[in-house]
Amino acid sequence: MNFSRSMVLVSSDPESVRRGADEIYALFEKEIAARDMEGEISISRLTDTGRPDAAPIVVIYPEAVVYGPVNAENVKEIVEEHLYKGRVAEHLLAPTRELSGRIGWLKTRKGTLPAEKRIVLRRAGRIDPENIEEYIAEDGYQALAKALTGMKATEVIDVLKESGLQGRGGAGFPTGLKWSFVAGTQSEKKYVVCNADESEPGTFKDRVILEGDPLAIIEAMTIAGYAVGADEGFVYVRGEYKLAQNRLENAVKQAREYGLLGKNIMDTAFSFDIHIHSGAGAYICGEETALLESIEGKRGEPRSRPPYPTTEGLWGKPTLVNNVETLANVPPILLNGGQWYRQFGTPSSPGTKVYTILGNVNFTGLIEVPMGITLREVVNIYGQGMKDGATFKLAQTGGSSGSVIPASLQDTPMDFESFRKAGVSLGSGALLICDENTCVVDLALVLQKFFKFESCGKCTPCRVGTGRIHEILTGIVEGRGTLKDMENLDYLVDSLTRISNCGLGQTASVPINDVLKYFRPELEAHIKLGVCPCGVCPMSAPVKEPAAVA
């Protein structure tokens, strides 16, 4: 693949086209060619920006500068100033506007490339995770000291509220609000639980935090205990994460030795202790109520809600359940203040997010970037482009229950609000990047097989429905599909979302829903034409091996 120095995107929604976007596109091609820059600069189209007031819009990467409304006369100047001389044409920038709509993010990033910003990963890889002294030397336990010696519990929660931190487990619930719910309950006994059962396929951000900086979680849980009035905590660690468990055990042991866990922490009246609890390999135990059941020694099956864990959690007591990454954000926020945190990310989703990049890109791995970057940026900047020069087809965000995001939505900023508006979900942070050779039906089948296997079986819709979706998809990839199947899939998707008990059932149909929404023609090709456009699906039932004759 040729690397481009810059990338020009011209909006192509109907409004932009009406206002001459196609002409502008052609002019860009012409002007770039006139300066012999074809090899250095790529040009392509941007889908709906949600800002008709600024249409047609032109975005130039890597600076992510937004121009608009652009007319034919401006093209020459933009090419000249920006692409040739490297100066932003300030007077042509899109007007700032109340930050709403999908393009809102662009304003906050005017003229800047969202570089990686490490907050939760700042220590991972830099300190010895098994040595508490190195942790303390790197600002460790300063936040707890600040909270215990200088802040009231309510003040700690206020700072969190001010920071706008949202749960990083996938749902994005405001963390400060959740803490205040637990703090507001009247109970002798409360618990803090860290959900470290990271079992979404393709997600490993929590593992890196746990293995690289385990004491950050211990410290954050202790702060949480102080803020909500709990004296006991559990870390529920995925069973497969043996190293993480060992490091957490070690961290707890060292913290106790240093008087940072146990009775009268830092010689204050506050006491708190933490247990490390290993999961046993069930996906469902990542669901917070199933996780609580599992800690209690029962079958890992979700409870019905309400009551929520904040009022009736572990052993019926008010319980704060937070994801690893959420907790890891707490100490830096407390140290630097809520306003400091808000400088990263977007106004509606402040802060950074850790993503795991997987799939057909040149670079796969972990990044921590401010909220609100786009998939296009992930693919082209952090992923360093698609492998073998292939074309980006879709991305799945957030593991198996995440959305399947088509290339047409790759410019949607990745923050909770923008994704919610676009009808997709951000999930836990896995980004599976797929190229044109990926068959969506095959992808959906693999995911459904996973759900069929992992459904706990407690509630009827999920227990039966996941299996039914899998059966229908199996029929389609084996060439037995009918149009009736499409109808049944539509129905199942809707039904599972509406009437399942917990998140597993309610989101098991998210990928297939997105496939039906964005890739219907591909699905129909399997059924009507009996071909898999990508050549992935067998389109016939597997031939049974004849029994060996002795």
Binding site: I284, F453, K458, T460, P461, R463, V464, R468, G475, I499
Partner: protein
């Protein structure tokens, strides 16, 4: 927060206690929200999601704290998602829609999901006809499946969870009712879920499989045909069955049952009982019965060796005679004897016993009760009285159980006491060895066999902790049994218990008193009517001229040994017992399934049973036989059971006010069980035939001073055999149930491992045991919970044992075969 809230369900307003679930509140106004996994006795599980409804709540104005109004009515906000009625608590002003388009759609979808993997074998399914899934499908289900039949769920169809209960894995809808019943109600979690998702299965992990005396109840509450009993399986279709209300005759609890009967070819065109089902009585057995009642409840009445004709012994052979001749001979013999003896048992109904009493009065005969447990005179005085219900006992109350392994002797009492303890009642278990009830006890008092009476007497000292507990308790009930005790010992124990109750003021008022854990259904009734046991039955048999034995088998039980000179024996019986074998005149009686009558339960509740099947042969009901004999002696006795009861109520003060009309009265019970709907309560029968009536408190001012001594004490270096009671014993009524053979097993005696070591026996050894001149072979079970110096010998298992005694043990030599 107020204790009662008012809400609207499908337009019907209802006021219910706060904390109630929407599904129950709906039931109060006859709105039947479909459910599978919820059960009013088991609580919410929220598994099936069949009960999805729309729930709206008034919007509260935060400024005023009152609901916002719109046109004078509160503004209701409906939740975005459907809610499960089985987990949603009622709240003030709530509006529930169970039939809205959205709710119905949700319900329909769940049903469709269930049906896509449910087999279509209704035509051969035992549940077909009384199946909640079938009924709800007819009411709400889609006519046609949208999914592929080829891909239906396949699973094993005949999986024995034990020898009593079978599982059909295909039919199971994973509602978990059975699992929750065993865990939450029975307290014996011997079944559970295995695997997850669609592979989720019910498995039993006990040995023997499904080792619980309440296992049959899971088949009643199973909402599909997944769990069936080995007894009824493939036996009949529910719609062919007729139903007759009955009372279980297996123990003194008096569980209300329904006998399902049908006429069938394989029984030569006779009407026979096909199964025993529980019948709701929230004061007695709620919705449950034990497996003994279910699986041994009626089989003995259908045995081939039922006595069908009156017979006389002539030339040492039985000859059939006419009833008339039999009555005449009986009357003559009884009249001619100087002092005839009537020996009766608690198997007889109140009516039978009363007529016997009248006849004996006229003849000046001696009336004896056949039992080896005493104290019934005291339970008549300080027993439970009208208005008592074990379900009322809870926080602030105390229950003491002494000398009884209650789960083995009266499973439903065990269950009800366990529940009372869970509600907060203080449970004190006083027993010489570990029993299953102890798990639920607040206090366990262990004494040595022989110290029963002393132990209770010690407790009655003012300084004793338990005396103080009794003195403080709002209500107190004592259950006493006959573990290790004979007639004298148990009488003494009852006396000691009575003193404790009387001294602390716990008698003659509802929910207070003494309960005897009797072995027969109507022992309490026999005591109330004045029948009393005698210590030495042998003497009676040795000296009497004529003995009239009704419903007892003293010869078979080893209670008497017949000598050359024996009395003229008139035996009125159901089956060919050993006593019948030695009778001079045999009068065939009807089984309780073939006649009407009442039993008085251990809780002193008079309950009525009805005729379910036609009589066998020429048999007649006991009260009628007695009345006929009396007629030959110019004594007129009633022959209509209702009229006998009227007479009884007139003559016996405790029965004052009791009549068939009264015992047949029904009030509305909660939960509301309804056979026409099935999904809420299960296949359990509703009670329309009477809840029974408790006896009055006896007007007593003084109590007999407790006499009698406890059983023998174990002596150093000597083994003491003590009797214990077993649920599944070799008594004819149990042994007749083929299904229970495995659970009955052979005679097993238990001793401590140290004792076994000392005597040189190992676990599983075959022993020959000699005791009081009888002997039997037994299997030795070494059990650390048995106190040292003790050999536990179960009653009615082949070795007669009435009270503690000194056994002689020897190893059975194995035959050496060449």
């Amino acid at each position: 927060m107020t204790d009662r809230v008012t809400l609207t369900i499908d337009g019907k307003q209802v006021t219910v206690p706060a904390g109630m679930l929407v599904v129950d509140a709906a039931k109060k106004v006859a709105v039947h929200i479909p459910i599978f996994c919820y059960h009013p006795k088991l609580g919410s599980a929220a598994m099936c999601r069949q009960c999805l409804v729309e729930v709206g709540r008034p919007i509260i104005d935060h400024a005023t704290g009152h609901p916002e109004l719109e046109d004078g009515f509160p503004r209701i906000q409906f939740s975005a998602k459907l809610e499960t009625a089985c987990t949603t608590l009622v709240s003030e002003g709530m509006v529930v829609l169970t039939q809205s388009e959205r709710a119905r759609k949700g319900q329909k979808e769940v049903l469709e999901f269930l049906l896509t993997s449910h087999p279509l074998d209704c035509p051969i399914c035992d549940k077909g006809g009384e199946c909640p899934l079938q009924n709800l499908t007819m009411a709400h289900g889609p006519g046609k499946s949208r999914f592929l039949f080829d891909e239906k769920h396949h699973a094993e169809k005949q999986v024995p969870l034990g020898e009593l209960i079978f599982l059909d894995r295909e039919r199971c809808i994973q509602c978990g009712r059975c699992v929750r019943f065993q865990e939450n109600v029975a307290g014996e979690p011997v079944i559970g879920f295995y695997q997850r998702g669609r592979s989720m299965d019910i498995v039993s992990f006990s040995e023997p499989g499904f080792d619980s005396v309440f296992s049959g109840n899971t088949t009643d509450i199973c909402p599909v045909g997944a769990l069936t009993t080995a007894d009824f399986r493939f036996g009949a279709r529910p719609w062919e069955l007729m139903a007759a209300a009955s009372i279980c005759s297996q123990c003194a609890v008096g569980c209300n049952t329904t006998l399902n009967t049908r006429r069938e070819a394989r029984s030569d065109g006779q009407i026979v009982v096909k199964r025993v089902m529980p019948r709701q009585n929230e004061q007695v057995n709620e919705l449950w019965i034990c497996d003994k009642g279910r699986f041994a409840g009626y089989h003995y009445t259908e045995r081939d060796d039922r006595l069908l004709k009156p017979q006389v012994r002539r030339d040492d052979k039985f000859r059939s005679v006419s009833w008339d001749a039999a009555f005449l001979q009986a009357a003559e013999k009884l009249q001619d004897a100087e002092k005839p003896v009537f020996l009766v048992s608690g198997r007889l109904s109140n009516e039978d016993l009363f007529n016997l009493l009248q006849l004996a009065d006229g003849l000046g005969a001696e009336t004896l009760l056949y039992t080896n447990m005493g104290g019934g005179d005291l339970t008549g005085m300080v027993g439970l009285t009208s208005g008592s219900n074990l379900a009322d006992l809870g926080l602030g109350d105390v229950i003491l159980v002494v000398a009884s392994d209650l789960q083995e002797e009266a499973p439903l009492w065990w269950l009800r006491i366990k529940q009372a303890a869970e509600r907060g009642a203080m449970l004190i278990v006083v027993n010489p060895r570990e029993t299953k009830l102890e798990k639920h006890a607040d206090y366990v008092v262990r004494y040595a066999y022989g110290d029963e009476i002393k132990t209770i007497q010690d407790m009655n000292k003012a300084t004793h902790k338990i005396h103080k507990v009794f003195a403080k308790a709002a209500n107190a009930v004592i259950f006493y049994g006959s573990e290790g005790l004979g007639l004298e010992g148990s009488s003494g124990l009852a006396g000691a218990c009575t003193s404790l109750l009387v001294d602390t003021g716990h008698y003659a008022r509802p929910n207070n008193g003494l309960v005897g854990v009797w072995q027969r259904a109507n022992d309490q009734g026999a005591w109330e009517l004045g029948f009393r046991p005698v210590k030495d039955l042998q003497v009676i048999f040795d000296k009497s001229e004529v003995v009239y034995i009704v419903g007892a088998d003293p010869v078979g039980d080893g209670a008497v040994r017949l000598k050359k000179r024996k009395p003229f024996m008139i035996v009125q019986e159901l089956l060919s017992t050993d006593t019948v074998g030695h009778a001079d005149l045999v009068l065939p009686a009807r089984a309780f399934t073939e006649r009407e009558g009442t039993y008085t339960s251990g809780e002193r509740r008079v309950q009525r049973f009805y005729q379910a099947v036609p009589p066998r042969g020429e048999s007649r009901p006991d009260y009628e036989i007695v009345a006929e004999i009396a007629a030959r002696l110019d004594t007129a006795l009633e022959r209509e059971p209702g009229l006998v009861m009227d007479q009884l109520a007139e003559h016996i003060p405790a029965f004052g006010g009791i009549s068939y009309l009264k015992v047949s009265e029904v009030v509305e019970q909660w939960p509301v069980i309804n056979r026409s709907e099935l999904f809420y309560g299960g296949a359990v029968y509703e009670n329309t035939q009477g809840l029974g009536m408790q006896l009055r408190p006896a007007p007593v001012t003084s109590f007999p001073v407790s006499k009698g001594k406890g059983g023998l004490r174990p002596k150093e270096g000597l083994l003491l055999a003590v009797p214990v009671n077993k649920l599944y014993d070799q008594g004819l009524t149990v042994l007749s149930a083929p299904l229970l053979r495995e659970r009955i097993g052979e005679l097993k005696v238990c001793m401590n491992p140290d004792e076994a070591d000392r005597l040189g026996f190992e676990n599983g050894a075959r022993l020959r045991i000699g005791l009081n001149g009888n002997n039997a072979k037994a299997l030795l079970v070494v059990d650390p919970t048995v106190p040292s110096g003790i050999l536990l010998v179960p009653r009615s298992m082949g070795l007669p044992i009435f009270e503690a005694g000194m056994p002689v043990l020897s190893k059975v030599r194995k035959k050496v075969t060449g």
